[in-house]
């Protein structure tokens, strides 16, 4: 009748793919973290979350999916917080497990195989979205390309849990 799309996040070396409805950036390779392993505010420079690997999984009765994109409301998490998405979108075979020092900082996003640069994800807004997949997706299940997302914290950030921000996915279904 219609495709159902679920957001999946990859962890571990396998990888293990798990459906998520919310995401929390922290300094561990886990898809459903609690408030343990937060990103410490550095005394100089930046600390980073472990990068997150997301894709859409499509199930159900449909012919094809195209034009998979993602965008934000253009807001952001506030002073001293950056959230970047890798400029390149990747295939499943390019998965690279998140790495770093748990409890301190993840490795910067360009250490991910296939990611050479990153852009503030909040520059992608409705009408100016981040393209995730330009191919034609079919099958039950079908999968989109992967995007890599990472939060950075600088010395000017304030301590505490941040207010939630909403990311929106777009896809066309026939």
């Amino acid at each position: 009748m219609a495709a159902t799309a679920a957001v999946e996040e990859a962890t571990d070396a396998g990888p293990a793919w798990n459906e998520i409805t919310t995401a929390r950036f922290n300094t561990a390779d886990e898809h459903a973290p609690t408030t343990t392993n937060p990103i410490p505010i550095p005394t100089a420079g930046s600390n980073y979350s472990y990068w997150k690997t997301w894709r859409l999984k499509f199930t159900g009765s449909y012919t094809q999916i195209t034009n998979v994109k993602i965008y934000t409301d253009g807001g952001g998490y506030g002073t001293g917080i950056t959230t970047q998405v890798g400029d390149e979108v990747l295939t499943a075979g390019q998965y690279d497990q998140a790495s770093g020092t748990s409890g301190t900082s993840g490795d910067y996003i360009t250490n991910h195989t296939g990611i050479t640069a990153a852009t503030d994800i909040f520059t992608y807004t409705s009408g100016s979205e981040k393209t995730v997949d330009t191919s034609t997706i079919s099958g039950d299940p079908g999968y989109s390309n992967l995007i890599i997302v990472q939060m950075g914290v600088t010395t000017t950030a304030s301590q505490g849990t941040l207010s939630a921000e909403t990311f929106t996915w777009i896809y066309d279904e026939i």
């Binding site: 799309a5 009765s61 012919t63």
Partner: protein
């Protein structure tokens, strides 16, 4: 959802009880026959299965028809030898609990119908975007 049966363009359509679509498509063929997305027994025809008929130029019009029982809302695109139909649903799905479900909070759907035409070597597309309330916006391209 209440099960309804409505005759549309001579086609017998039965909307399945678990339907979540607010519009369904009906292909009107040159021989005055119709192929609805849901047939008289509620069985779905996937759009991809009628692609050969489109390629052969045997589809003369596409309709999007409201599945709301009391609505008569219908949007039609007439085709000719130079135009090809465009039909899709555009989903905007927020990350959040329950947003996987169509038309649930955090999941908006636009029903899109139009045509593509090559004119003077230039590719052009005109698409009507129908929102969940039935409002229609015509756009040149996508």
């Amino acid at each position: 959802m209440e099960k309804i049966e409505v005759p549309i363009q001579g086609a017998r359509v039965k909307i399945p009880e678990d339907n979540k679509l607010k519009y369904i498509w009906i292909a009107e063929l040159e021989d005055e026959k119709c192929i609805p997305q849901f047939g008289e027994h509620g069985t779905e025809t996937l759009f991809g299965s009628i692609q050969p008929l489109i390629d052969e130029g045997k589809v003369k019009a596409f309709h999007f028809v409201s599945t709301t029982p009391m609505s008569q809302h219908k949007v039609t695109v007439e085709l000719d030898d130079e135009t090809r139909p465009i039909i899709f649903r555009r989903h905007r799905q927020k990350m959040g609990d329950g947003a996987r479900i169509m038309h649930a909070p955090g999941h908006e759907v636009q029903y899109c119908i139009g045509f593509q035409k090559t004119c003077g070597g230039q590719n052009s597309k005109s698409i009507m975007f129908i929102d969940e309330d039935g409002n229609v916006t015509l756009k040149n391209g996508d």
